[in-house]
Every structure is written in C-alpha cells, then in structure tokens.
C-alpha cells in the first residue's frame, strides 16, 4: 500500500513537472518569432562568416543564409532580442541588412 502511494505520488509529481514544463514551453513558443533580412552578403566566405558568428548573438534560435537571394532568415526569442538588434548584428559583421516584410514574401 505504502509502495502504491509512493508510486502515485511520484507519478503525480512527474506529471506536474511535465505540465509545468509544457506551460513554460508554450509561453516560450509565443515568444519565438521569425524574420528575414535582405543583405549585402555576396560571397561564399561571407556566408561562412555570418554562419560562424550570428548563432552566438543573444536570443537567436535558428538561422539560415541564402546566398542566391542574399537573405538571412532568423528564428529568435522576442523576449531576449528584437529585429533591430538582429539587423545590427548583421551590420556589425560588415553587411547591410533590411527586413523583408512578410506581405512582400507572399507577393513573391
């Protein structure tokens, strides 16, 4: 019986923790946003440079550089950074960056 109680308690505790984690995750999800910048990245080495440095800017969750379109796509945590800071990070590496508005992307 004791064992059963213990087991139930443990399970409840685990479920609680999981639910809490889930809650936190959902809150996190809400903060995750995406942005695409048109940049002046125009060489293979530039791509390497951006790929080596940009991931370590605060709040960046994922990113991709597209050399053909000269764009940088970034997934970021809006509670930690914003579009201006992200653009500034690209400029700091030596390239111009201008946000592509989602509406225009659809138009394309």
């Amino acid at each position: 019986m004791k064992r059963f109680l213990f087991l139930t308690l443990t399970l409840l505790l685990m479920a609680g923790t999981a639910a809490f984690a889930q809650d936190k995750k959902q809150k996190k999800q809400a903060d995750i946003q995406e942005v695409t910048f048109v940049t002046t990245i125009d060489c293979k080495n530039c791509v390497k440079k951006v790929e080596a440095n940009l991931p370590y800017e605060k709040g960046i969750k994922d990113m991709k550089v597209n050399l053909d379109d000269q764009t940088v796509w970034i997934k970021y945590d809006a509670s930690k950074t914003d579009k201006e800071k992200l653009a500034a990070a690209i400029v700091k590496l030596g390239y111009e960056a201008e946000e592509v508005k989602p509406a225009e992307e659809e138009k394309k």
């Binding site: 048109v38 940049t39 002046t40 125009d42 060489c43 293979k44 080495n45 791509v47 390497k48 440079k49 790929e51 080596a52 440095n53 940009l54 991931p55 370590y56 960046i60 969750k61 994922d62 990113m63 550089v65 050399l67 053909d68 000269q70 997934k75 590496l93 030596g94 390239y95 111009e96 201008e98 592509v100 508005k101 509406a103 225009e104 138009k107």
Partner: protein, 756 residues
C-alpha cells in the same frame, strides 16, 4: 565596395532634407574593375512594393519622402541593395555578372556533386573535411568509396590511395591546378598536406582535361587551400589521439588593402612514441615529426589582373622498424635489430599570373609556373634508397569565351624532371634520369544553356625519353530533364613510372630487386566511363536527393609491372606483356530525411586484372574488390552540435602468392570499420571528440618473418641463410597490408577561428 557604398549613402544622408527628387544610377561592374550603365534594369522599392525600371542610360528618378530600401536587379547579374535616407540626392548601384565570379556559389554540407560540371566531381568541402579527424589529406577520404586509402607497407606509415582500383600514382594530384606530389615526392605526399590547410578537395574520375598535362589516368584530385582573402586573421587547431598522434596547425590570412592579401600556414605533427599492439616486435607506425610551412600571396589589380605566388617548406623525419631500433641504431646484424629511417625534405615555389585581354574578361591569358626540389633519404634494415628531384613546370594558357555557346582554350606546357636516385651506398645502383616534356594543347567547350556541355581536347607532347605522345580526351554532360543528368567521358593518359617511389613497400622486404636494363618506363592507358544521376523528388526541403550510377573502364597499353609472385626471393619489374585493365562500378545515394539530417550510402565494386609472367591474366593483388560506405550526419540548429557516424565495409583483396601460402589464405577477410565524431561549436571555437576503428579491428599478422628480418636476405651481401624452421621459408616481407594496423583510436581536437 559595399562598405564604401554604405559610407557614401550615410554621408549623403547628412545633407539636409530639401531636395526630394532622388536619382539612381545602375551600373554593370566588370570583372576588370570598369563599369558601364545598365539600361532597363529593375529597381525594387521595398517599402512601397513598387518596381521601377532604369532608362536607356541606366538611370531612374523617384520621389523620396522616407527612408527607402532599393534593390537593383537584372537577369543574369547579382543584385545590389542600397538603403537611402530621405534627402539623399543620388546613389549608385553596381551589379556584377553572375558568371564573373570564379568561385561557384555552392555552399554544401559535405560531399556534394555539382550538377553543372561536365565531369562528375565529388567535392569534399571544409564542412566535410571537419567531419573526420583528418590529420592529413590521406585521411580525408574515409567517407568516399571512390577513393580507398591503405598503407603501402607495415613499416613506413606511407599511405597510398586507390582510385578506380589502381594505385594513386595514376591519379594526378593538383594544388589549385598545379601538378604536385610527382616523382619521389609522391609516396608520402598525401601525408604532407595537412587537412586543416584545405578548403575543399575535388575528386574527378577519368582522364579529365588536357590542360594540366597527360598524367591523369584514373582521375584528378584537386586541392583548394585556405585563401589569402579569407577574413580569418587567426586559425588554430590542436589535435591529440590515443595512438600518440598529435598535430597543431596555425593559419593567418591578412588583407593589406584591396590589392594585396596573404595567408601563412604552419603545421607541426607526428607520432610521439612507439607502439606495438600486435606484439610482433615492430612498431605499428613509425615515430614521426613533420614540420610544414606555406606562404601564399595574392595581388589583384583593378584592371582584373591577378598574380598568385607562394612557397612551401617541408621536413619530415620518421623512425620505424623494430621496437629496439633507435635513431642511432637502425641496423645491427648481431643483435638482430632491423630499423628504418626516412627523411623527406622539400621546397616548392610557384608563380601564377592571369591577365584579362578584354574588358569583360571573355578572353584572358594565364601563366602558371612551379619549381619543386625534394630530397628523399631512407634506410630499411639493410637497404638504403636515396633520391633527389628537381622539377620545373610552366603552363601558358589562352582562353577565349567566344560567346555563351563556344569557348576555346589552348596553350603550351613545359615539364622538366631531374631525378637522381639509387640504392646501395652512395647511389651504387644508379637509376637517375632527366626528362623534358614539351607539349601543345587545345580544348573546345560547347555549352547549350544548362542542358548540354561538350568538352573535347587534344594534347601533343614531345618527351625526351619517350618521343611523341598524343592524347585526345573528351567528355559530355547532358541533362535532358531536371531530374536526370547523363555524363560520358574518355581519353588517354601517360606517365613515366618511378619504380621505387611508386612501390615504396618493396623496401620493407628482404627481397632482391630484378630490374631489366631495358625497362621501358612509359605507362600508357585509356580510360572511359559514364555516369547517370537521378535527382529524386523527396527528402527535406532545399536539399538534393540523388541516386547515381558510375561505370569506368581502364585499359593499359603499356605498364611497368611489379611482380612479387614469380620469385619468392625477389621482386621482379618488367613491362606488361598482355592485358591489364580494371572495371569499376559504383552506386551513390544521398538523402536528407529531415532537415540537417543526411544519409549517404555508397557501394563500389572493382574488377582489376593484370597479366603476370608465367601466370597469365590474374586478379591484381592487394586491390580491394569492393567497398561500402554508409554515412549519417545530424546537426542541431545552426550546427551547434554535429553528430557523425560512418560505417565502412572493406572487401577482400587477393594476397600475393607467398604471403598467401604463409598465412594460408587466398584473399584477405572482409572487415568493417566504424567511425563516430561529435562536434560542439561555441563562438569561435569548435571542440570535437571522436573514435576511429571503433570495433578495434586489426590485421594481426602484417609482417612475414618478423622474428628474423635479416633471414634469407639477399640484397646486401649477396648471400642468404635459411633460418626459418617452418615448411615454407619465410622471407621478411612487410608489404602485404590489407587492414588497419592500429586498433581503436580515440581523439580530441579543437579549432579556434578569429574573424576579421
């Protein structure tokens, strides 16, 4: 350029906002630095989502009330973006032709197959190179089934590659399109190119182009080094492994100004102490210390002229053989000490210049020159082999891209080799030679959009040793649809055999050499083949899923045959009398089932035959019949973690007669090799740990007669004694290596990159 533009834009934005009319000018920036207006180019006003067109003079006007992002584009040109502040009066946009860039815009994760190349080329990119511990070029092919890497013997640690089932000596090695690792520099050449110096490696099977000479028979491997223009003022790599191998690399690229840039790279590496895992009394790998330095410079003139020059210094000392052998005691008959000492020293210098002959660079002329000095001093128990080589190379190439369909290239090449070599004390048995080769070549390329490319070329050479040599070569690539590409190629290749350094393993035997006086050193072969690649419509977005089939056939007219089987006490050299050919089939499959998760599977089958005296046509010894490679790589977002796993299945090799009798096996066993590596990236720093040969598979008996290396030895005294008690006399022979000599290896490495 872009930075200057930004600066100009910024400066202009400081002008008080009065004039609201903005003028834009769009130019075509020519490769030679000149510009011309680009009429009817499109300019996209991002904020207003409006498209504007330039007039016949490449100009446009627009009302400007707020900050505007303007992107100028033109089909076939790169785009240029300028952010204009209100009040700016004018701005200039510079577009370059997409084809002007000499580097293709391919950013790949690893081994890739560029779709548009007319010769199917396997590319191992920097990312692919990082997958493996790859201390040297020789270790960079673990994921490739096309290239097989093995040891030439169990003593020297020299690694040799095989392409299309033939020794790497039939593969032309190029360093940014200069022939390298020739003659006596070849046996350790693969070990003398630090993997960390390289940006990418391109493997092309078949004879390829006529422009780089005639020596490519089974293929070409081109190495691209880190570039002077890399924006990395400092790169440092450190590596250490459980089998006493260590290395350190440092590279520094500096751009002095728009015109001058330079990269210096230094390497120190080797094997720190001796080990004998299989307890045969012999070191598994020699103790080794390699020092290697290179400096590479680039001058880029505004006119479009480019000059590249540089040099390299190399010193490598290795000590192999029995555990009891020391640096000062590599030979002691009384105490039965058999040791081997090898020293390689090399100096290389090169100078390349390319001059555009037209404003748009459709015609240009290039000169490539190279000088190489190499010294090879070695001692193996009783034998010594010494060699010194001076080589000079000059290649003058004229190229004219007449229009989008036709391109011609022609030129002339001079290659000089002065090789002094011999074995026995003080070049007792002299095999020195001097050789001049002067050739003229022409190559024509026809391109029809992206669907068809045909390249045909001829090369006529006059060689002071062999007379006139003629080699035609051609290849064609046809992509009838998006999902399929067909390629075919064929051609002839020649080379002069270097009988000792091509077969370094012969020194790690107690056997004598039988070399006829009139040995013809010319090797002459035809190679042809084809490939079909299907691009399949599944897998993660933005990646290529392909299935590819290869077939290659190689046929020798003339070849120097090295026969260890006819006579158990000697290795015989003679000219091929009969057939010598290989057939190679290969299938490759690559897919990304998920984003950043790649699976590549490759399988190669080789049927290699050679005619040996008294035996007739037999399977070429020590050539693996097949190899299968399965590679899986998964990377987390932004490659912060990378997990690599490679499984190899190495097929059997036919073991030469006497070794087969002693070991009582006709063919070597099939064995698997597993590799794994985990890389973690931090800002500027990558740390990687990995394991090679995870299953710890080893060839336990690699040396025949290891207990008595001086027994039955003919070569020095001309006398021999029968000392072996077994029924088959065991002549010392360490040249039959079919598997790994070292067991499991764990390694750790660190790469640090400082970005400009």
């Amino acid at each position: 350029m872009k930075r200057i533009l930004t600066f100009i834009t910024l400066c202009l934005s400081l002008v008080p906002a009065l004039a609201q009319n903005f003028h834009g000018y769009v130019y075509y920036q020519k490769p030679n630095g000149g510009t011309e207006p680009l009429p009817f180019a499109q300019v996209y006003h991002m904020e207003h989502e409006k498209l504007i067109e330039t007039d016949a003079n490449g100009e446009f006007t627009l009302k400007l009330n707020a900050r505007a992002t303007l992107i100028a584009t033109y089909v076939g040109y790169t785009r240029d973006t300028v952010v204009v502040e209100p009040g700016t009066a004018e701005a200039r946009f510079y577009l370059t032709g997409e084809n002007d860039l000499d580097e293709s815009k391919v950013v790949a994760q690893q081994s890739t197959m560029p779709k548009l190349k007319s010769i199917k080329t396997e590319v191992i990119t920097a990312a692919g190179l990082c997958k493996m511990a790859c201390c040297a070029l020789a270790e960079s092919f673990e994921n490739s089934a096309s290239v097989t890497v093995g040891f030439s013997d169990a003593v020297t640690g020299a690694r040799q590659i095989k392409l299309l089932g033939l020794s790497g000596t039939y593969t032309q090695m190029l360093d940014e399109n200069r022939p390298v690792m020739r003659g006596i520099a070849s046996p350790f050449g693969m070990s003398f190119v630090p993997g960390q110096w390289l940006e990418s490696i391109q493997i092309a099977k078949g004879p390829s182009s006529v422009i780089n000479g005639l020596e490519a028979i089974t293929g070409q491997i081109n190495m691209e080094h880190r570039k002077p223009t890399d924006e990395t003022p400092l790169f440092v790599q450190l590596y250490g492994s459980s089998d006493a191998m260590f290395e350190a690399n440092i590279a520094s690229a500096i751009q002095f100004n728009e015109k001058w840039s330079m990269i210096n790279m230094a390497h120190v590496g080797g094997t720190a102490y001796k080990m004998d895992h299989n307890q045969d009394g012999f070191r598994d790998e020699p103790e080794d210390l390699q020092l290697n330095f290179t400096s590479r410079w680039l001058y880029y003139a505004p006119s479009g002229m480019q000059i590249r020059f540089g040099g390299r210094f190399l010193n490598d000392d290795r000590l192999g053989g029995q555990m009891s052998a020391t640096k000062d005691n590599t030979y002691n008959l009384q105490n039965n000490i058999w040791g081997s000492k090898i020293r390689n020293r090399g100096v290389n210098g090169y100078f390349k210049i390319g001059v555009p002959l037209a404003e748009d660079n459709h015609a240009n002329i290039a000169l490539v020159t190279d000088f190489n000095h190499h010294e090879f001093n070695s001692f193996f128990g009783l034998k010594n082999y010494d060699a010194r080589q001076n080589s000079a190379f000059a290649n003058l190439i004229y190229q004219n891209e007449i229009n989008e369909f036709h391109k011609v290239e022609f030129g002339a090449t001079w290659q000089y080799d002065d090789i002094r070599q011999g074995y026995g004390h003080d070049y007792l048995t002299d095999f020195s030679r001097k050789e001049h080769a002067i050739s003229g070549f022409g190559e024509y390329t026809y391109t029809w959009e992206e669907a068809l490319t045909f390249v045909g070329g001829v090369n006529l050479e006059y060689n002071t040793l062999h007379g006139w040599l003629f080699a035609p070569r051609a290849n064609v690539r046809w992509a009838p649809a998006d999902w399929v590409t067909l390629r075919a190629l064929g051609g002839r290749g020649y080379r002069t055999a270097n009988i000792f350094t091509d077969n370094l393993g012969i020194f790690s035997t107690g056997k004598d050499f039988v070399i006829p006086d009139k040995l013809d050193l010319l090797e002459d072969a035809w190679t042809w083949g084809g490939n079909v690649t299907f691009y399949l419509p599944f897998g993660a977005e933005d990646t290529e899923t392909y299935l590819s089939f290869d077939y290659f056939h190689n046929d020798f007219n003339k070849q120097v045959v090295v026969d260890p089987e006819r006579n158990m006490l000697a290795i015989e050299f003679y000219n091929l009398d009969g057939k010598s050919y290989t057939n190679t089939w290969q299938v490759d499959f690559s897919v990304n089932p998920l984003e950043r998760f790649n699976i590549t599977a490759t399988f190669r089958y080789t049927d290699a035959k050679v005619t040996l005296k008294d035996k007739g046509l037999v399977e070429r010894p020590m050539t693996s019949r097949y190899k299968g490679v399965l590679n899986m790589q998964y990377a987390t977002a932004m490659n912060k973690w990378t997990f690599d796993f490679t499984a190899q299945l190495n097929g059997p090799m036919r073991i030469p007669r006497y070794a087969a009798e002693v070991w009582d096996m006709e063919t070597s066993p099939v064995y698997p090799m597993l590799y794994a590596q985990i890389t973690r990236k931090f800002k500027g720093i990558d740390v990687y740990v990995g394991a090679e040969n995870i299953l710890g598979y080893r060839q336990h008996h690699a040396i025949i007669g290891a207990e008595d290396p001086f027994g039955l030895n003919f070569s020095d005294s001309g006398m021999h004694t029968m000392t072996s008690s077994s029924s088959i006399p065991q002549v010392f022979d360490a040249s039959n290596v079919w598997g790994p000599l070292m067991g499991r290896k764990i390694y750790i490495g660190l790469r640090y990159t400082l970005w400009k």
